[in-house]
Assembly symmetry: C2
Homo-oligomer: 719 residues x 2
């Protein structure tokens, strides 16, 4: 992930997918099952809190904790104001209103999708930036929806009332789904607000969230990507940083700038060391309450195996890229995704290898199990941990082959993905809609066909490289005695086999794909296309592996839901649920940390940007942009640029405002340091830090580098 804009199980940005899976996903072969399998799901609240821990519900904030520790009283008015000033970017990030005229602040990397879609052959706003000085120049984003949380209503009783105890899991699920849909529709009809029933505490609570929607959102300002993502991949997840990862939008209603009652004022001073700060945003997903058995699985199998594959892919892609500029262009997207995932997973692994974290997880689990055992009402829950452990064991036993044959790690190839889609479409489409594999249901058809018939170029050399390498990976994993591996390789070396397949397949041609897709099974069977035949050769085992994983995942989900409810019954609220990409309040202090015996200061300055660039001889990605080089002398180089704080954030918090006690903006979340990656599993404030753009640098940059004084005036409220 570039920065922290990760919605739950986002296919585009989740660090949980290898490029093979990612590539295959793009052709819609794997959908939710892999996502559930690989993401870890359904998590429950924690009972012992660390210092500045927590992604708190706005209707259950940690008033007492904060009062005791910081002497600050969170009033209802303060909460309501911050809540309604906060904005969710449905593309996967957070933001806030910062003027009464609907100005919205977020990150450049949250704006990336809009920036890219607004570009054309003559304009690359993503790379070069954008500024609409007169409002008339503000450009409407193609498909951006912003949500503002207007109210929260507890509907737990109403939901539970229809889910009678004794209902089998499947009926319970359906009944719950039905009442939730009813509540949502009723609320929508009544209020006109987008209304979502959110499952919290794994089913311990159901809250109805009502959102005001803005769908006319226009781009106001974005800097060049070079300054927004200065330091690129090498500095991603690292600190100190020097990034102006900011963008401004404006929400419109009826063709006019929206009039906003609740927006955040700008702090004059900005964030100061040791200051108490709050982060209001939308953390996407956390896995803080995985059982110890599942955490150990992550630590000992899932992360090491995923990393082994990522290291390999990174080397293969890097070596390929180094051979020519054109190669580098072809591999760029996949390489970035691999590097990004590798960094994220290494951080998570490092966290799980910390015995303190595991010890605290273990003692918490013990406490909860003992409590469940002692409580007759929770007798069904007692076995939940064992059921998860058992399911996890089955998953572990099947993970290698599942990953190879169903998730497609043996076949890292666009062409294989296409071939398999054609094979399966021919088999699935004649079935009743409800009996098909998920990715072939009618509602997904349009998007599937759009991708399947895409004429995006497919590069044969790149395909061969990736396929040969993934076939080699398969041979390594299974050994050459494995029957299915032998069938796959067909008596050839991986390199030869990959070459034959890529050379031989006709699915390279869009017309062939269309014809096979339209003519269906007889045509697909008669075609004997070598890539389709390969997909066929593994299909029976692949499907049965998928079934095993899906079944075990369902078993785990149900057990986690029981643990969640038990935990809630025992601890009540007074804690916070796992992240659900809904609005949460985090808090902490602006504070540096120790690294390898060195003190890492809490903030950087604009001077540091030029120093970091010079130290790297201004070579990309350390090439300070021309605008910043040319206007260096105008700048106050002592202006704080980025800073770190102990606030508890995760992917999805990108673009969250950082505010002070007065609810004034002092910064803008855009990343976490490498130690914060473990926050997925559990909170720590020893070294984990949220990384923000300092509010002062935003104004300094707007005024002195981008001649955007008008925008700066609007932000600071100068008439």
């Amino acid at each position: 992930m570039e920065g922290f804009a990760i919605p739950i199980c986002s296919l585009q940005q989740s660090p949980f997918y290898t490029p093979a899976q990612f590539a295959i996903m793009k052709t819609h072969l794997i959908a939710l099952s892999t996502c559930l399998f690989l993401c870890g799901v359904l998590l429950t609240p924690q009972t012992t809190l660390h210092a500045d821990e927590g992604m708190w519900l706005f209707n259950d904030p940690p008033r007492k904790l904060i009062k005791e520790k910081y002497g600050f009283e969170i009033t209802d008015q303060w909460l309501d104001h911050v809540q309604k000033s906060s904005v969710r970017f449905n593309s996967g990030g957070s933001g806030s209103f910062v003027s009464e005229d609907g100005l919205v602040m977020s990150n450049h990397h949250v704006a990336a999708d809009c920036l890219q879609k607004l570009g054309d052959k003559d304009h690359n706003y993503y790379r070069d930036g954008f500024y609409a000085k007169p409002r008339a120049d503000e450009k409407q984003c193609h498909d951006l929806e912003l949500n503002v949380l207007m109210s929260i209503e507890d509907v737990t009783d109403r939901v539970n009332a229809v889910v009678k105890s004794g209902l089998a899991a499947e009926q319970a699920f359906l009944a719950r789904r039905k009442i939730m849909a009813e509540i949502e529709k009723e609320s929508l009809d009544k209020t006109g607000f987008r209304s979502d029933v959110v499952t919290l505490y794994q089913g311990g609570k159901y809250h109805l969230y009502r959102f005001k929607k803005y769908t006319d959102v226009r781009l106001v300002f974005a800097p060049e990507q070079q300054i927004a993502f200065f330091g690129g991949d090498p500095d991603n997840f690292e600190y100190p940083r020097f990034d102006l990862d900011v963008a401004f939008f404006r929400a419109y209603e009826n063709g006019q700038p929206a009039k906003i009652q609740h927006y955040l004022k700008w702090s004059k001073a900005g964030a100061a060391e040791n200051e108490l700060i709050f982060v209001s945003g939308h953390p996407g997903r956390t896995s803080r309450l995985l059982t110890v058995a599942e955490l150990e699985y992550h630590r000992d199998y899932r992360l090491p195996n995923a990393l082994t594959r990522l290291y390999r892919s990174e080397v293969v892609l890097t070596a390929y890229s180094a051979r020519s500029e054109e190669n580098a262009r072809r591999a760029k997207e996949e390489l970035f995704s691999v590097q990004n995932s590798r960094k994220a997973l290494r951080g998570m692994q490092a966290g799980l290898l910390d015995p303190e974290l595991m010890a605290s997880k273990r003692s918490e689990e013990r406490r909860l199990r003992e409590a469940a055992t002692a409580n007759p009402q929770l007798k069904d829950t007692v076995s939940a941990w064992d059921r998860i452990e058992k399911a996890q064991k089955v998953i572990r036993e099947n993970a290698q082959r599942y990953n190879l044959f169903e998730a497609g790690l043996a076949f890292n190839s666009e062409l294989f993905g296409i071939a398999r889609t054609l094979l399966r479409a021919a088999e699935e489409r004649p079935k009743p809609n409800g009996e098909r594999l998920r990715e072939f249901v009618e509602s997904a058809r349009e998007s599937l066909e759009f991708q399947l018939f895409s004429d995006d170029p497919i590069y044969e050399d790149f395909e061969q490289l990736k396929l040969a390498d993934s076939l080699t990976w398969m041979a390594e994993q299974l050994g050459p005695q494995d029957e299915l591996a032998q069938k796959v390789l067909a008596g050839k070396s991986p390199i030869q086999r990959a070459s034959d397949l890529v050379q031989g397949t006709k699915v390279k041609e869009v017309a062939v794909r269309k014809k096979l897709y339209t003519d269906g099974k007889p045509a697909v069977d008669a075609g004997h296309d070598p890539m389709i035949e390969l997909a066929r050769a593994v299909d029976s085992e692949a499907r049965s592996l998928r079934k095993i994983i899906e079944t075990q995942t369902e078993i785990k989900q149900q057990a986690y839901a029981e643990i969640g409810k038990a935990r809630f019954a025992l601890s009540g609220t007074g804690s916070y649920p796992d992240a659900t990409f809904t609005l949460r309040l985090a808090y902490g202090v602006v504070k540096g940390y120790e690294e390898n015996g060195r003190r890492i200061p809490y903030q950087t300055t604009l001077a540091g940007l030029y120093e970091r660039g010079a130290e790297q001889k201004f070579k990309p990605p350390f090439d300070v942009p021309q605008t910043w080089l040319g206007r260096k002398r105008r700048l106050d180089l002592k202006t704080p640029f980025n800073f770190v704080s102990t606030a508890d954030i995760i992917g999805g918090n990108s673009g969250s405002p950082v505010v002070n006690r007065n609810a004034e903006v002092v910064g803008l979340i855009f990343d976490g340091n490498i130690y914060s990656l473990v926050l997925d599993y559990g909170f720590t404030e020893v070294q984990a830090r949220a990384v923000s753009v300092h509010s002062a640098s935003i104004i300094e940059g707007l005024r002195k580098v981008y001649a955007a004084g008008k925008l700066a005036d609007e932000i600071v409220g100068r008439p």
Copy 2:
């Protein structure tokens, strides 16, 4: 390996060491045992020959084969001339005399050691090149010895006469060693030539090689490294290539240029397509006759495991390097070695995954085993294959822990290497010389102390990074339940533990090392240095693993020797022994190949150099040097630059002359393509190719780029 200059088990350049092992080797912890274990040893001749296969003995050349296939008669005179024109670089490469005044041609990368040592703070000859126009400017290399093979004498009977049958393995070994030393001394006394008894066919033959030595060797010419290694790591082992990987020396005797009777004349035309060519050089080591069991071990365990570790190291080092120029400088050497090894091992793995190669190995082995079974004189040999398989199984079972704890993959750290040396020196030095671990014997003492007390800087951040990563690797490999792993981590996360160790150890200071080394065991024990205590914690298991591996390796060696002798008894000569870094004759044709359905032409031209540079925007390592850019217009751009041939070469052949039927130079070996890496295990000419500098480009470059017409005249024999 940059190019092909790899002597047997060279610590500096062998692709068989991970950086951890390499780093540790540098502090002399692991010597021959690892080398034997990891390099594969003691190999025997092959009986079915492929087309242009073979690294032939000069006293047993493939006259009949070549006569039949190419209609060319190898005369004694031709052989004698080529042999005496060939030169061995004892630093690990090959060369040839190319003028009567002692001019010697080899590769820039074979000259690297001399070039670097001749440099000083004002001169970087390795990077910038060198040319001594007047002979008086020729610069004497510090420690370069050249050998010319003058005669070969079969001493098999004399050796075997003292090795009575029935002698136990150890006595036989000692008796053999004694007679070989006697023969060598006698020959030296009689002829004044360096005299080595060379063990061929795993003991099937013993030949006495007499060499004329040149120790006054002076540098005449080398181009810039930029053109010698154009394309750098990305193009290393690849083809097409555009490298002028050449250097010239002059052998001196009594302060005067040596007068040379046998030197190679220069071909007017140079290498032409489909032409028969010969390569006379010193292949370092091949493993062509490993048993199938051992090859499968290489394919299924050794190579995948080594590669997994290399991928990981490459990513860690690359990511570290990308963070700053200074980081890149610190990691450069290790990163290059890792990339190089990764490429080599991937090539070897690809070769072993070719079922054809394995099938031919299998059928050969079957034939030999049947023959051995049928021959009563070979009854002891019959069990040799099983003994190897059994030993291999024990090695496999212990390899993981051996690699972690004794070979040091768990502790990739200079400081750990130093700490272990101090610990073990304290224990070993009081023992009688013959009972010590090999690296602590008296003859190695000076060099060990030189390295141990080196004040080369040790970078704490880099040490911590590598140690944390290798401790993580250990945790991944063994799981956190492993008792020794727990002891190593001492209840901490790998990152924390690495930081504590590197921060805490005193062996960073040379003075501390000296004191501990001098004061010995009581001081080392009393010091409680955390890094030394870590070495102590694993020492007992490490030593016992080493013993297991050494014992099994010895068992394999003896079995291989028996197979070798049996093979020799059955097939006689008429084949060629595995490479031994002694002079061999290979042959083949100048010929392109197919790659992914594309035809790769046999040669490149000077024009291609500029095209490749332009295509890469002249970014390093594709930055065509200024000299070549400035003089482009003078050059005949159609001049052939590099070419490929089917000749059977391997590391150590770097710098070998490529000659035509008239024994004229048509090229200069400097690399093999990626498909040639499998030649270690077996010959193939489908895609495997030797890569040479074309003779014409050498002259064109000397005359038109380097204004070295005088040198060119000497080479082409113009007065």
